[in-house]
């Protein structure tokens, strides 16, 4: 490729662009309107807003509802799923209530196969990290594909 002669500046530019996109992605994740994180930071502003709890863990269950946890944050949830158990992974949508704060869930899905998927994910990651370095070698300061 013609870019080879300027590969170092190109790689540095790509890294800077990735860093900027990572910063923007973080800003978006922290402030997106359907995200519970923004609602928890400023509850009155999000009172009645529809929020999404994506892959949150059930921390506790009580007669009034359940407590969801992710990223070290917790939120009380009313309704949505029946028969929840602590440790289950759940995705739920609902209305955010500033008093509490809490979420009145209108829809909920329990991810029963989550642990199995995480197991496959860990196994796949370990296999990939163990085998990918073998698929390449370094020759003259450059990467080369094996095989």
């Amino acid at each position: 490729m013609v870019l080879d002669r300027v590969r170092v500046p190109v790689i540095v530019a790509c890294l800077l662009a990735m860093g900027w996109m990572g910063w923007e992605a973080t800003r978006f994740a922290e402030t997106r309107s359907v995200g519970i994180r923004a609602a928890l930071r400023d509850p009155p502003a999000f009172d009645g807003a529809e929020v999404l709890l994506m892959m949150w863990t059930v921390q506790a269950v009580d007669p009034a509802g359940w407590v969801a946890e992710k990223y070290g944050r917790t939120v009380a949830v009313r309704g949505g799923c029946e028969g929840l158990r602590p440790g289950q992974t759940v995705t739920a949508t609902g209305r955010f209530r500033a008093d509490g704060p809490a979420v009145d869930a209108t829809w909920c899905e329990v991810h029963h196969w989550r642990r199995a998927k995480q197991g496959l994910g860990v196994l796949g990651a370990l296999l990939a990290l163990a085998t990918l370095p073998w698929a390449f070698r370094i020759e003259g300061g450059r990467l080369v594909e094996r095989g």
Partner: protein, 169 residues
């Protein structure tokens, strides 16, 4: 995201198909499979590890929780493929770039099949934050497919597996 076993098997089967259709064309198996696995290894793996740390009470800056996302979107895939391809000799860069990027896009295409309650993937980020997903299968649907894919993939690549086993012995 689908699990890496499913992604890896589908990538290997695609390359087997290419080899059957165009036996004389260079395979670039390593680049294609690496490209297929890298979006999760670069975006999801660190995010999961830092999420785990945050859940255990450690202070984790939001950037370390969410900043890896661009490795899993088309714009980031193009930049990552370009950066990695430039590490190869000039004669191989174009082919490696193409295989890395097509592996990554295959990864994304498989993930788009899944349903994430409308959260989806930000395909046009950073130009747009509108999420998209096809939502044709559940987010854990690949768990039951993965074992079957492993068997089919091992059968499809049995000649290489046997050769590797003989070398080891």
């Amino acid at each position: 995201m689908a699990d890496l076993i499913t992604h890896g098997c589908i990538a290997l089967l695609c390359k087997r198909g290419q080899q059957a259709l165009r036996p004389d064309a260079p395979l670039h198996l390593a680049s294609f499979v690496a490209g297929n696995l890298l979006p999760d290894l670069l975006a999801r793996l660190p995010a999961e590890l830092f999420t785990l740390a945050a859940a255990r009470g450690a202070f984790v800056p939001p950037l370390l929780l969410h900043g890896w996302g661009p490795f899993h979107i088309p714009a980031g895939m193009v930049l990552t493929s370009l950066m990695l391809a430039l590490l190869f000799p000039p004669a191989a860069q174009r082919a490696v770039f193409g295989n890395l990027l097509s592996g990554m896009l295959l990864h994304l295409a498989i993930d788009l099949l899944q349903s994430h309650a409308g959260a989806g993937y930000l395909l046009l980020f950073p130009l747009s934050t509108r999420p998209f997903e096809l939502g044709w299968i559940g987010s854990e649907a690949t768990v039951v497919v993965a074992p079957l894919l492993v068997v089919v993939t091992a059968f499809a690549w049995r000649d290489r597996l046997v050769a590797a086993w003989r070398r080891l012995r």
